[in-house]
């Protein structure tokens, strides 16, 4: 399942991962295979209301991509496009194209369930099932029809999520007895157990204390060699600490009908976004003058 075997990792940290001003169709040949997601002019509507407008950027393999921006700027909505979780919301509609390793995710023949087995998700609030720790991690493989080798998958996933040491002697206990930080790592283990190559994380640390947050951040650095990670975060320091590339979103507020539409302001190497952003709005946000 690991993608590291398929292509050599030529670039550890690309300088610009997807400047929206650059034409997305003309990246250099060397990096083409590294593109996991390519989104072009993505719009998300809830009914007739446009929640997100014209989002265009690429996400590269084995990178951590952070989506930052003020509340209501559509970061989570964008994130949920990548494993078609927006399908679960009635009246939600996505236009534009999102390709995943060269395939249009929104092709009518694509089964969202198949997509979600490859593109895992970790949610804002830890949401373990009211089942045992073991059953939580084994849930995804079982749903996919796997019956054998579950013990191994559970152990490996818990090890990857840096939780094995803490729970190995009580795998049969209820997951609800774990602390918030442990629960969130369990949710990461549960997502990993399905064997995805992308992890989408929707503010995974917002319900956690600083120590648990540090745990999760270390974990992200460790697992990024096997996965591509997209993380929505409210916490700019977190984005600066963990991500390779950052996309800054803001809300375009129309006062006449009081609607907010999320727009992508810029995408660049995280270092550049936080030190020398091209857009004034980004600078205002990252320096704390706005938002």
């Amino acid at each position: 399942m690991s993608m590291t075997d398929e292509a050599p990792r030529l670039i550890e940290r690309p300088v610009a991962a997807g400047d929206p001003s650059a034409a997305p169709g003309t990246p250099s040949v060397a990096t083409e295979r590294d593109v996991v997601f390519r989104s072009e002019d993505v719009n998300v509507y809830y009914g007739s209301f446009r929640a997100v407008r014209d989002v265009t950027f690429d996400v590269r393999k084995n990178q951590i991509m952070a989506l930052i921006g003020p509340s209501g700027c559509g970061k989570s909505t964008v994130l949920r496009c990548y494993n078609r979780m927006n399908d679960l919301i009635k009246d939600a509609r996505v236009t534009g194209t999102i390709t995943y390793r060269g395939t249009n995710l929104y092709d009518e023949r694509v089964d969202p369930v198949e997509v979600r087995r490859r593109i895992g998700m970790v949610f804002q609030k830890p949401n373990p099932f009211p089942k045992s720790i073991y059953d939580n991690v084994a849930y995804g493989p079982r749903v996919a029809g796997q019956k054998k080798g579950l013990d191994e998958i559970v152990e490996n996933s818990l090890r990857k999520a840096a939780l094995w040491e803490e729970v190995s002697d009580r795998l049969k206990d209820s997951a609800l007895g774990l602390s918030g930080g442990q629960q969130q790592r369990l949710c990461i283990a549960r997502a990993i157990a399905v064997g995805p190559d992308v992890l989408l994380m929707d503010e995974p640390c917002s319900a956690l204390d600083p120590i648990a947050t540090a745990h999760i951040e270390d974990l992200m650095q460790e697992i990024k060699q096997d996965y591509t990670i997209m993380i929505v975060t409210h916490n700019m320091q977190q984005a600066a600490r963990v991500s390779d590339t950052t996309a800054f979103f803001t809300a375009d507020v129309r006062s006449e009908n009081d609607t907010r539409t999320g727009i992508l302001v810029e995408v660049d190497a995280t270092q550049k976004i936080f030190s020398n952003p091209s857009d004034e709005r980004t600078e205002n946000y990252v320096t704390g003058r706005f938002g």
Partner: protein, 383 residues
């Protein structure tokens, strides 16, 4: 600015912070009025239970106990009080009612909670509630005049065997799931012998019930005779229809209480809707669903009008365990004794037998309701 600061610095007296005495009195009066209204219902219940117990005691002490067991049937005027006759009739009606209401009610609940969109929900839920509002006398009439000839009357010997097999297989499937968890419990309970005994006992119970049900179904099949007048089956189906909304609405409440984040987590792991419903939502809501079934059982046992009209016996009944024959349930026996011009006459203890059956019913439904409320409390503890 200076003015307000002066005001703030003034000292307060207790009077300024006091509640007006008249207002305080009003609070107290309202409190006691409400207390009295609450006490009235408690008092009424106590009086009812007391009158039940007193007359039932007369019956218990006066009746020849040997005659309440193994007689030909329930013939109060002749002094034959065969309690098993009416208890078994009640059980049959309740069992049939649950076979009807369980799958239909639970199916409706799963559909409403997991599948229906807002538009379908907005008319389907009220429609179910209308079903709950149909007076039971109307349903009784419907059961007697329509269900009995058109449904029960058309069940042939083969249909019955197929139905029986389906029910047995369903029961076996559910027991297999329970037994598996009990076996697991047994294996893990090496240090706790009481857990092992409990596990063995519940598996034994499941097996015994299965054997009894199998024997019963075969027996009924052997002496099968079609009947399109009132029968226990017709009454059972009627009562089942009556309890569908109950099962549906309590189960749906339990499923709606399962946080949406669990459904999202499940979908995010690549589960389809039916997988999410059966592996996440139903197990998480199981105590509420069990409570729904218990409440429905208790309602079915206590239901009177439908069984009185559609069960096919007037005021006395021969012993039967055949659901296609007419019978008299506990409730119907009471209703028939207490109605009509020659009510409550006959042999000396007829009047008191009514109270005894009433007490039996009361205790059954009371204990079922207590168990149900325990389960409901448990569903709240889960998250």
């Amino acid at each position: 600015m200076t003015d307000t600061s002066v005001v703030h610095q003034e000292l307060l007296t207790v009077d300024q912070l006091q509640i007006a005495p008249s207002r305080r009195h009003r609070e107290v009066i309202i409190r006691y009025i409400l207390l009295v209204t609450a006490l009235v219902s408690v008092l009424v219940s106590t009086l009812i239970v007391w009158s039940l117990v007193r007359e039932a005691w007369t019956f218990v002490t006066g009746v020849v106990w040997a005659d309440t067991w193994g007689q030909q049937g329930w013939f109060p005027r002749r002094g034959l009080y065969d309690i098993p006759t009416i208890v078994v009739a009640s059980l049959i009606v309740t069992g049939i009612a649950m076979v009807v209401a369980g799958p239909l009610g639970l199916g409706a609940a799963v559909y409403l909670s997991e599948y229906a969109n807002r538009r379908v929900r907005s008319w389907l839920k009220p429609a179910l509630e209308i079903l709950a509002g149909i007076p039971s006398v109307v349903l009784g009439f419907f059961a007697l005049t329509w269900i009995a000839p058109n449904i029960v009357g058309r069940i042939g010997k083969t249909t019955f065997l197929v139905l029986g097999a389906v029910i047995l297989i369903g029961y076996a499937a559910i027991s297999a799931v329970i037994a598996r968890s009990k076996i697991k419990q047994y294996r893990e309970g090496t240090t706790d012998p009481s857990a092992r005994i409990g596990a063995v006992a519940s598996i034994a119970t499941l097996v015994v019930v299965f054997a009894l049900a199998l024997a019963w179904i075969l027996n009924v099949w052997l002496e099968f005779a079609p009947n399109n007048a009132g029968s226990l089956t017709a009454a059972g189906i009627g009562v089942g229809i009556l309890t569908i909304p109950l099962v549906a609405s309590i189960s749906e409440d339990a499923m709606a209480a399962v946080p949406d984040s669990l459904r999202q987590a499940s979908a995010g792991l690549g589960a389809r809707k039916r997988t999410t419903a059966t592996t996440v939502v139903l197990p998480a809501a199981i105590s509420g669903i069990v409570a729904a079934f218990i409440v429905a059982v208790s309602r079915a046992i206590g239901e009177t009008m439908v069984v009185f009209m559609a069960a096919g016996a007037a005021d006395a009944a021969r012993w039967t365990d055949n659901p296609f024959e007419g019978g008299l349930t506990m409730t119907a026996a009471m209703a028939s004794l207490a109605s009509g011009t020659d009510s409550v006459v006959g042999e000396g203890l007829t009047f008191q037998s009514l109270y005894f059956v009433g007490l039996l019913l009361f205790l059954t439904t009371l204990s079922l309701n207590i168990i149900a409320s325990r389960f409901v409390a448990k569903v709240r503890e889960v998250y």
